[in-house]
């Protein structure tokens, strides 16, 4: 086992029983994400990207294969420990509805800090909100923020614990192209500042030049295409 890797997935299969014709969402997928690496996952809708992300991030157990983080096969852990592991090592950005509507931006960002019992949550949350450019808007509720701003809050929340890896499932799916690009650049910067890895699902192939590596998915299988960091 490579101890350096952010996450390792080994021969992961996921089958959804759908009557007579079960859906093979993942077929023996193996994947390793190295620390600090920004990996983009592309593929047509229904190819299994979300399922892979959920499996690697400890949200859903695969039918076969296992996922390793820090030399631990994460699905051997009980729910309590797995929750702990997610809050410690993973950050999440979803397509939308990332934030709790009754909590301010600042409070939303504090959630993972409070779950981990980290000291000075307010200070840390304020700092990272300033870093994503929302220093002036920390007390706004999600409804008072634009879609791009909400996703920046979500990004701040995902990174505030300095996770080993950030999982993002089409984080720019609901944003216009300029906001998407800003968001992607910010994400790339923050991830590298934190030395976190990032595995991102996107259907936007225009962004692939920002990635260190691009993976293509088709019918539940990975098709790797070599690619290196392009524009800075």
């Amino acid at each position: 086992m490579n101890q350096q890797s952010a996450v390792i997935g080994k021969r992961i299969s996921r089958i959804f029983p759908m009557g007579d014709t079960p859906v093979h969402a993942l077929r023996e997928v193996s994947i390793t994400v190295e620390p600090g690496e920004l990996v983009m996952l592309l593929g047509p809708s229904g190819s299994g990207k979300t399922t892979l992300l959920h499996t690697l991030s400890g949200l859903e157990k695969p039918d076969q294969g296992d996922v390793w983080v820090n030399d631990v096969s994460i699905y051997t852990l009980n729910d309590w420990k797995l929750s702990k592991l997610r809050s410690q090592y993973f950050g999440f950005v979803f397509q939308s509805f990332n934030l709790l509507p009754t909590l301010s931006a600042l409070e939303n960002v504090q959630i993972p800090l409070r779950l981990l019992g980290i000291k000075q949550p307010v200070k840390k949350a304020t700092e990272i909100l300033a870093r994503v450019g929302l220093g002036e808007r920390t007390h706004h509720k999600p409804s008072q923020l634009s879609g791009g701003e909400q996703q920046r809050v979500a990004l701040a929340r995902a990174l505030v614990t300095r996770p080993k890896i950030v999982y993002a499932d089409e984080p720019t799916g609901n944003l216009d192209s300029q906001t998407s690009l800003d968001m992607m650049l910010l994400l790339r910067e923050l991830v590298s500042e934190n030395q976190s890895a990032c595995l991102m699902v996107t259907h936007n192939s225009e962004m692939t030049h920002l990635a260190h590596r691009v993976l293509h998915m088709r019918d539940g299988q990975l098709v790797e295409s070599a690619s290196r960091a392009g524009v800075s």
């Binding site: 979300t50 399922t51 959920h54 991030s57 949200l59 859903e60 729910d79 309590w80 929750s83 702990k84 592991l85 997610r86 809050s87 410690q88 950050g91 999440f92 979803f94 509805f97 990332n98 934030l99 709790l100 509507p101 009754t102 909590l103 409070e107 504090q110 959630i111 993972p112 409070r114 779950l115 981990l116 929340r157």
Partner: protein, 362 residues
Amino acid sequence: MISLLLRLFHWNILRSRLQLLIMIVAVLGSLSSYVLLGTALSEMSVQVMESMRSEWPYDFEVEAWFDADLEQQITKLPGLSRLEIHTMTEVFLYSETIRLLALPKENSVLLLELEQGELPTFEDDIVLPASIAMRYGYQLGESIQLQSVKSINKPVSFHICGILSGKKGVLTYPLTTYDGLTRLQPAEKLTPTALIQLDGREELLTFEKRLQNIGRGMAIKTLTQEYEEAQANLTLSDTLVNGLRSLILMISASSLSILLYITLRSGAYQIGVLRAVGMEKPWLLIPAFLQTLLVFNIGYFSTYFLLPPVAQTMGLMTEKQALLQHLHSDFWVFLGVGMLSTLVVQLQFLSSSIPRLFREAL
């Protein structure tokens, strides 16, 4: 953490104001009918007991020299519904032995409906039951000779001042005054008799043991005939009403569960996000429990104010105080059921995988 949970709770409430309102109304409605039915049950059982009872509606006769202390000890026994203290003796009338009663003090269930004349006032007055007057052909105003069974004195003459009605349920023993009794038997030999009526739920044998445990030289006699029948009828009505009550409980529990499910479902996505970022399941139970507590407490207070007028309009005789007491004790049953359904619905939610929470919400 606490403040985060309170915010979650706050969010639950904001998100589902309409459902909460419906839930409160559901609690109000079912709690009211539950309490009303329970109260009606108590009223009904009293009536069942009374309608099942003969002219001598007692289950125990206990002879003893009662004092306030002993009387209180007996009154406190569980299962007792009535305690009366009477004075009586046995007399010969021709070849028959009959029981002669002193005019009861107030608050007796004995029915003393007169056909003719009036109740005894003087020591030689006597009122005859219709059956005896008929059997021996006694008329109002005549005199009658009675001899005590326990003493060898000469027969004593009484003046018939009244005749009881022959209707069902009216006393079938002759009746005189206390002084009248002392003419047959000296006061120091007139041991008082406590007449005890049970509530129809307690077993006779159990109650008898309790009486015996008190001791104090009591002579206890158990009258079995009618109690068992009354008990059977009461059990029937109990079963019926308890069945209805459980039905109400089940219906309200399931409707609450459905409402609760809808409420929680509308927030499933965010619950999924919270779980994804590492919030452990047990924490997520707390806001839901707080919500149920809130709903039930508001439901309780609305019932508290609305129930008495409703009961009055319905013609329930139970007093407001007693009704509210019923409400109070029934509320805990209700709250327990509410919490249980919350738990069940929540567990159902928490046991589903996080990706499923994401999907279900949309």
